[in-house]
Structures are given as C-alpha cells and as structure tokens.
Amino acid sequence: MAAYRIMVIDDENIVGKMIKTAFEHDGYIVETFLNPKPALARLKEEKFHVVITDLKMKDMDGMGVLKTIKDESPEIKVIMITAFASLDAAVEAFRRNANDFFAKPVKISDLKACVQRLLHETPSQG
C-alpha cells in the first residue's frame, strides 16, 4: 500500500517541521508550506489525502483554503488548527465541511489518531 500524503500549511515553520518529523516517523509522506498559495498550486499537481492548515495566515485565510479545497476536491480531508480559537471559528469551519478542528497547542498523538480515523473512512487510492 502506497503511503498516504499529508500537506501541512502553517506560517509557523516549527509546526510544519514537527508534524513532518512525527508523521514521517509513522510512514506518511509529508509536505509543508508556509503560505497557502503555493500549497494550493501544489494540490493541483499532486494528490494529497489530508491537509492540515492553520486558520489565520498572512496571505489567505485558512477558511479560504478550506473553501478552495472542498470546492475543487471534496474528497480531501481538511483539519483546521488555530491559535485563535473561538467557538464562532469552529462552527464556521465545520459549516464549511472541515473534517476536524484543533486548537493550539495541538497534541500530536491526537492529531495522528484523527488522521488515521479520517483515512480509514476513505480507503487509500494512492
């Protein structure tokens, strides 16, 4: 079975780096992006199973990333993470079909469990 592909979009480079380290250790392929625009461009070239994105970033709102992904490839699972956690933001994210929502600080083990749960809902096509 080919490895699952995970994309991380967060302007905090440590977030990308740590998720990458942790998930690659479990055999996932992880690509990290600091800005949403190149990330969305990369999604057009390569199939990803899960996108983990920050909610508040400089160039584009994480909400915008969510909308674009769900409009173009609704099968991709999107997990939102944010340091700016509010009930309104969570409700808004789920209304736009986010698959899960994490407030920073994120427990990596929870994140892994979440990714696994989401991936088992959809068999790997890679």
Binding site: E12, I14, K58, M60, T82, F84, P105, K107, I108, S109
Partner: protein
C-alpha cells in the same frame, strides 16, 4: 479689590466730585446774585445823585428856592441808601472811600443848608457846591464801575474753574478707566488663552498671580475645571488603553498560542522520538524551546510596556528602531486582519530626543487607526521615515490604503472626543497623539483621499551632534 467694589467706589467719587462742583457753582452764583443786587442799589444811588445835581443845576440857573428841598430829599434818600448798604459798600469800595463819600455827602448837605440860610449865593459857594456834587457823582459812578468789574471777574474765574474741573475730570476718568479696563482685559486675555488651549485638549492652568476680583474667581474656576478635565482625561486614557487591550487580546491569544504550540510540539516529538533523534536534533529541539520561550517573554513584555502608566523620559532615540518596535507591538493585529505592513526606512537618520514610550503610543494609535480604516483584506500600511529637506527634522509617515476620511471630518480629527468609529472609539487617540507631538515641538498633519487612503505625517526636530 473686587470689581463691584471698584465700580461702587468710582461712582461714589464721581458723585462727591459732582457735589463739590455744585457747591462751588452755587457759591459763585450766589455771590454773583448779591453783586447784581448791589449794582442795582448802586445804580439807584447814582440816579438819586443825578437827580440831586439836576435840581442843583436848576437852582443855579433859575435861582428858584423850591429846588433846594428837592435836593434835600434826594440827599436823604442817598444817605438812607448808603446807610442800608453800609456793609456792602464797605466791602466794595473800602472804609476810607466810604468815609470820603459820606463826608462829601455831609459837606454837600451843609453847603446846601448854608445856601438855604443865606438865600443868596456867592460865586465861590456855587463853585464849591458844584465841585462837591461832581465828586459825589464820580464816586457813585466808580462804585458801579467797581462792582461791574467784580461781576466780570467772578464770571471769568468761574468759567476758568469749571474748565479746570472739566479737564481734571476728563484726565481722572481716562486714567482710571485705562487702569481699570487694561487690568480687566489683561485678565480676560489670560482666560481666553487658557480656554482656547483647553478647547484644543491642552489642560493648562492660568499661571502667575490670580487677581483678587471677580475675574480672579473665574480664573480659579477655570483652573479647577482644567485640572478636573485633565484628571478625567487621564482616566479616559487609561480606560482607552484597557479598551485597546480588548482589541489586542485577540491578537495576543494568537501571538502566545503559536509559540506555546511550537514548544508543545517540539517537546512531544522530543519525548516520543527521543531514541530516533540525533544528538544534533536534540540540541536543535531544545534551542527551539528556548527561542519560543523568549518569543513569549517578548510578547508579555510588550503588553506590560503598553498597559502601564509611563513617566516622562526623554532620551536619544533612533526613529527607525522605534518604528520597527512599534510595529511589532501591533503586528498581531495585522496578522489577524490580513493587512500587510510595509516598512520603508531611510537608512541613515539623525537621532531624535524624545520620550520613546509617548512616541510609541502615537505610532500604536496611528497604526491601530490605519488597520481600523481598512475593513477588507489586501490593504497595506506603509511606515516611512526620512530626513526633511532642510535636514533639521525627521519625518515619519503612516499611510494606509483604507477608506479615507471625508474633507468634512478632516479638520476635526485631532479634536478630543471626535471619532468616526462610533461607539468603538473613544475619540481620544488622535487628540492625545496631537498633544504628544506638540509637546515634542513637532508637527502632525493629515492628508486623505476618499477611497484611496489616509497619510499621517509627523515631523520631529532632529538632534544635531553639536547640541549634545
């Protein structure tokens, strides 16, 4: 002395003076009346003597003895008149002349009596009688003359005295009015100056000596009002800071949440993957933890710096450095609103001598306003520094690409309590900024175009090397 007392005193003095002038005029007019009465009497005497001499002439001409009793009659009338007015006459012509007049009258009487007795008259007798009569007439005529002259003198003297009174009153009135009103206007000008300053948000006090009058009471009232407004403003500034804290908190959650998350993730990986990590990785992880801790410390420090009241503290400051630090203070606000901040700094600037916390407050105010002016994503705020053309001041520009301010509001934006943000703003930010820049002998200007944005320009005097 109170103004009302001064006015009462002035009126009392004026009334007293009018009374003096009245008394003087009354006395002079009374004297004049007496003199005119006396002139009338003297003219009566003169007429008597004239009649007497007419009878005398008739007698010598027609030798008619019946003329002599007529002379007697007139003589008696004259003697009676002199007797009645003895005191006045004595005063008018003197004791000596009066005695002379009376002795002449007596002599005339005796000569007439002698004529009556003898029934005849010699040429000598006639001559002597005529001479005495002539002298009598002359004396009585000079009496009238003297009194008329006295009347003239009184009139002239009164006229002069009244004119002097007039000049005196004019001079006194002009001098006291000048002193009274100039003092009052000085006080009013001092009040006006401070009132104008208060209306511009500078809660100054009227310095110097407070006069002990009604305007002094007004000054004291204005001073306590200014003090009260000043302390209210302090409270408002503090509450405004708390209000901005509310705005900042959203950003702070983001600003603290990120480094906390970073530390947490690094620690989780460190624990979970300890055996798989190379020694370099482990060192790198721990360094990351330290860096992120430092990041948190800075955020907290910035918050404390912003919220605590600051004492005045002037120092030499590099404006570029300050611009960067001020931007950092509000950076999270930019982050959560997806507005770009762009620094365009002139690399070599002379230092400025300023209270860095105060100027930082101005920057934070301007940057907060700029962000609020841009409701939509994609805008940018430019922070520029440059040296003014003459080289004697440093110019800082804060430009936004927001909605702009309409020309109608533009002249009022530095007024205290003026806000276009409705209930969100206190209307104090720009007014406080204006006050701060003014206290630094600087200038703050604004230009705006609807739909294009607003630019605030601050000029602060550059600190030259030789001044240190």
């Amino acid at each position: 002395m109170k103004l009302v007392h001064k006015i009462i005193l002035g009126n009392v003095l004026a009334i007293m003076f009018i009374a003096v002038v009245y008394a003087f005029s009354y006395q002079k007019l009374d004297l004049l009346l007496n003199k005119l009465n006396f002139v009338e009497i003297a003219e009566g005497l003169n007429a008597n003597l004239l009649k007497m001499r007419l009878s005398e002439k008739n007698y010598f001409l027609y030798k008619d003895k019946s003329d002599l009793p007529l002379i007697h009659e007139d003589l008696n009338k004259s003697a009676q008149a002199i007797d009645d007015e003895r005191e006045n006459l004595k005063r008018a012509i003197g004791k000596e002349k009066l005695a002379q007049l009376e002795s002449n009258l007596k002599k005339y009487e005796q000569e007439v009596a002698a004529l009556e007795k003898s029934g005849e008259f010699t040429k000598e007798m006639a001559e002597s009688l005529r001479e005495t009569g002539r002298q009598l007439r002359e004396q009585s005529a000079s009496l009238i003359q003297l009194e008329r002259e006295a009347v003239n003198r009184i009139i002239v003297a009164s006229r002069r005295a009244l004119f002097s009174f007039f000049c005196f009153v004019l001079a006194i009135a002009a001098t006291t009015s000048y002193l009274f009103f100039s003092k009052m206007f000085r006080s009013l000008r001092r009040i006006e100056k401070v009132a104008t300053a208060i209306s511009k948000g500078n809660f100054n006090k009227i310095g110097g000596k407070i006069p002990n009058d009604e305007l002094g009471s007004v000054m004291t009232a204005i001073n306590s009002m200014s003090e009260e407004l000043g302390s209210r403003l302090e409270q408002l500034i503090q509450s405004r800071k708390l209000a901005s804290m509310g705005v900042l908190t959203a950003g702070v959650a983001h600003e603290l949440g990120n480094p906390l998350n970073n530390i947490s993730m690094v620690a989780q990986n460190y624990l979970a993957l300890y055996d798989d990590l190379s020694p370099e990785d482990r060192l790198d992880y721990m360094q990351t933890v330290l860096d992120q801790t430092e990041r948190i410390r800075r955020v907290v420090q910035n918050l404390l710096d912003f919220s605590k009241p600051k004492k005045t503290d002037f120092q030499m400051v590099d404006m570029n450095q300050l611009a960067k630090e001020s931007l950092k203070l509000v950076q999270n606000m930019f982050d959560v609103t997806c507005i770009e901040s762009k620094l365009e700094l002139e690399p070599t600037l002379p230092p400025v001598f300023i209270d860095r916390h105060k100027i930082e407050e101005v920057f934070v105010n301007l940057l907060t306003n700029a962000v609020h002016a841009m409701s939509t994503c994609g805008g940018a705020v430019y922070i520029r520094t440059r040296l003014e053309e003459k080289g004697d001041s440093v110019v800082i520009e804060v430009e936004d690409t927001g909605e702009g301010i309409s020309a109608e509001f533009l002249p009022h934006i530095f007024d205290p309590f003026f806000s276009t943000k409705g209930t969100e703003g206190t209307g104090l930010g720009l007014s406080i900024s204006y006050g701060i820049i003014k206290n630094h002998n600087g200038k703050i200007d604004v230009k705006s175009q609807i739909g294009k944005g607003t630019t605030f320009t601050i000029q602060l005097p550059a600190h030259r090397q030789e001044e240190i």
